[in-house]
């Protein structure tokens, strides 16, 4: 069942003379939620940007289901089933929930003049989708994103990724600035996404949130992957923190 969905092999990324990613290799299996941890500057963001098509890699291969792909743009990545949800940047605030969900693949009615939008279909699917991600409050699909809370926005973004059958959903700091209840909501959407067959990469500074939802933890430091098989069930948060800061290496040296 758990075959490799994404395999990154020996990825290197230079920003000018700065070596941001050094021979990074990692895999994400089907229906797996992976936590990606690391201090500021560890290379998490660069890795995610490479995987989401936002920046080109310098060398290395990305394989999706065993097939080598080139991700030249975020649209490329989405077409290959990789959806990235950056904090607050994935949605158009002025547009409605339904219009955001279908942006770029709007259903149209007939072959009419200038592609008339099929509002009824959009609204009906949007309502169904909001119910699926567990927004129990009655929010009409015509509501503009700008009047939603941070958690509801994350929910809409996740719902969109689930709707369009992205294989891999990358969540960059999805719980930042969220309240306790909203955070629990987002974590529930992540579990829901996994249970319906999606894989996730979950990035958060708050290790407690990561521990609650992931199957496996990958830690980066100084542009390298320093641990890629940490089981949150058998490891303590303190141990992971030591790996993130590199303390265990210091201990090894002084011992």
């Amino acid at each position: 069942m758990a075959e490799d969905l994404i395999r990154m092999e020996k990825i290197n990324k230079f920003y000018g003379r700065i070596h941001a990613l050094r021979d990074v290799s990692l895999t994400v299996k089907t229906q797996e939620v992976v936590g990606l941890l690391g201090d500021n500057g560890a290379g998490k963001s660069t890795l995610i940007k490479v995987l989401s098509g936002a920046v080109p890699l310098t060398s290395g291969d990305i394989l999706i289901k065993g097939r080598k792909v080139e991700l030249k743009s975020t649209a490329d990545a989405i077409a290959n089933g990789i959806e990235t949800i950056f904090q607050d940047s994935a949605l158009v605030p002025q547009l409605s929930i339904a219009r955001n969900l279908f942006l770029g693949r709007e259903p149209v009615k007939g072959s009419g003049f200038l592609n008339r939008l099929d509002q009824e279909t959009m609204n009906a699917s949007a309502r169904e989708l909001l119910r699926r991600v567990g927004i129990t409050k009655d929010i009409p699909p015509e509501t503009a994103i700008s009047s939603l809370s941070g958690g509801e926005r994350q929910a809409v973004a996740i719902a969109r990724a689930m709707q369009f059958d992205s294989d891999l959903i990358i969540l960059d700091e999805p719980t930042n600035n969220l309240g306790v209840a909203e955070t629990q909501g987002v974590l529930r959407f992540v579990r829901e996404a996994r249970d319906t067959g999606h894989s996730c990469i979950f990035i958060a500074h708050n290790i407690h949130h990561v521990f609650q939802v992931v199957d496996r933890i990958i830690v980066m430091r100084g542009g390298r992957v320093v641990a890629d098989d940490i089981d949150p069930k058998t490891t303590t948060i303190e141990e992971v923190e030591r790996i993130i800061t590199g303390e265990e290496m210091l201990n090894a040296i002084t011992a």
Binding site: R99, G104, R105, E106, R116, S146
Partner: protein, 328 residues
């Protein structure tokens, strides 16, 4: 309760402020001078209202996509000059000269869009440059002299574009019909079509739109072309109505058009636009121009009123925006 929520949502619409202002304006001018709402004056006001109005419709869509176009006033003057020069030199019939002028304006719009989207230069700078290039060209090729237009007398094409007919005693201009059609089409595109969704997304959050596969650059280039073509159409209609193609005409129109659009509730930063609001904005400014003359205020004072309206409406829109964000 239902009644009240309906009323509340109506009041919180961006078009509500402009609507109230227009009604007030009409009532005030009418109370000063009853001729203000006479059929000849309405007909006269409509005829010169719709010319700038055509540009404002296209500008609304362009501004919704987050850009604007300062070169429309120059294109307004230049395209009429170009058409009449071609026609008067007997190179081609009027219809063909018209098509050449429109094609040329589309090219100008394309260049605007290309500079903005491919070279990433703000539209303010690109279209300011284009304003000067186009106006300079119009002045240079004509030596600054107006072109003759009287040779078009009775020309069927000129009548189709800018002629008039009588409904009873009411003189109806063809341009009013073209404006109504254009307004309907623009409203449909912006609110009901897939293209409209892309236009709003391009202005609201271009990065998110691009990530979803929306071709933001192409959307904007098309809108620059539309704005330029509408400016050309308006300039040509105006030249036929006034029987003059002056290389200087349209000077300053770009700012008046942008004023019409923002008074109507479209935001300068993009993402949200309203054609209904723009139509109201068009009438607010044009009725003002006509009305203050009718009530005896010197025409030179016109700009004072326009400026005050812009400031007042911006204050109102920002207040509504804050209320909206506060969740009222």
């Amino acid at each position: 309760m239902q009644q009240r929520t309906f009323l509340q949502s109506f009041v919180s619409k961006p078009e509500f402020g402009p609507l109230v202002l227009l009604v007030l304006e009409l009532l005030i001018f009418w109370s000063f001078n009853s001729d203000f709402l006479s059929l000849p004056n309405i007909s006269n006001t409509l005829s010169f209202t719709v010319e700038l109005g055509l540009i404002a419709l296209a500008m609304t869509m362009l501004m919704t996509a987050g850009e604007f176009d300062l070169s429309v006033g120059s294109v307004f003057g230049f395209s009429a000059v170009l058409m009449w020069t071609l026609f008067n030199s007997e190179v081609m019939p009027l219809g063909v000269a018209f098509l050449v002028a429109i094609a040329f304006s589309l090219f100008i719009g394309f260049i605007n869009g290309w500079f903005v989207t491919k070279l990433n230069i703000p539209s303010f700078l690109v279209t300011l440059g284009m304003l000067l290039v186009v106006r300079g060209t119009a002045l240079y090729v004509t030596d600054g002299f107006p072109q003759r237009t009287w040779t078009a007398e009775g020309n069927w094409f000129a009548n189709l574009l800018a002629g008039s007919f009588f409904i009873g005693t009411f003189r109806m201009y063809m341009s009013v019909i073209w404006f109504a059609v254009a307004a309907f089409v623009a409203h449909y595109i912006l609110t009901k079509s897939k293209a409209g969704n892309w236009i709003q997304a391009s202005g609201g959050n271009p990065n998110a739109a691009r990530a979803r596969g929306v071709n933001v650059s192409r959307t904007k280039i098309y809108l620059f072309m539309a704005s330029s073509a509408m400016a050309a159409l308006a300039g040509i209609i105006s030249s036929i109505r006034t029987s003059a193609a002056n290389p200087n005409s349209g000077t300053g129109y770009e700012l008046e058009v942008i004023a019409m659009v923002v008074i109507g509730g479209t935001v300068l930063t993009g993402g949200r636009g309203t054609i209904i609001g723009t139509v109201l904005g068009i009438f607010i400014l044009r009725v003002m121009r006509n009305g203050i003359v009718m009530v005896g205020v010197p025409g030179l004072a016109y700009n004072i009123f326009i400026g005050a309206i812009i400031l007042g409406m911006m204050a109102l829109h920002s207040w509504l925006e804050r209320r909206h964000n506060a969740g009222v």
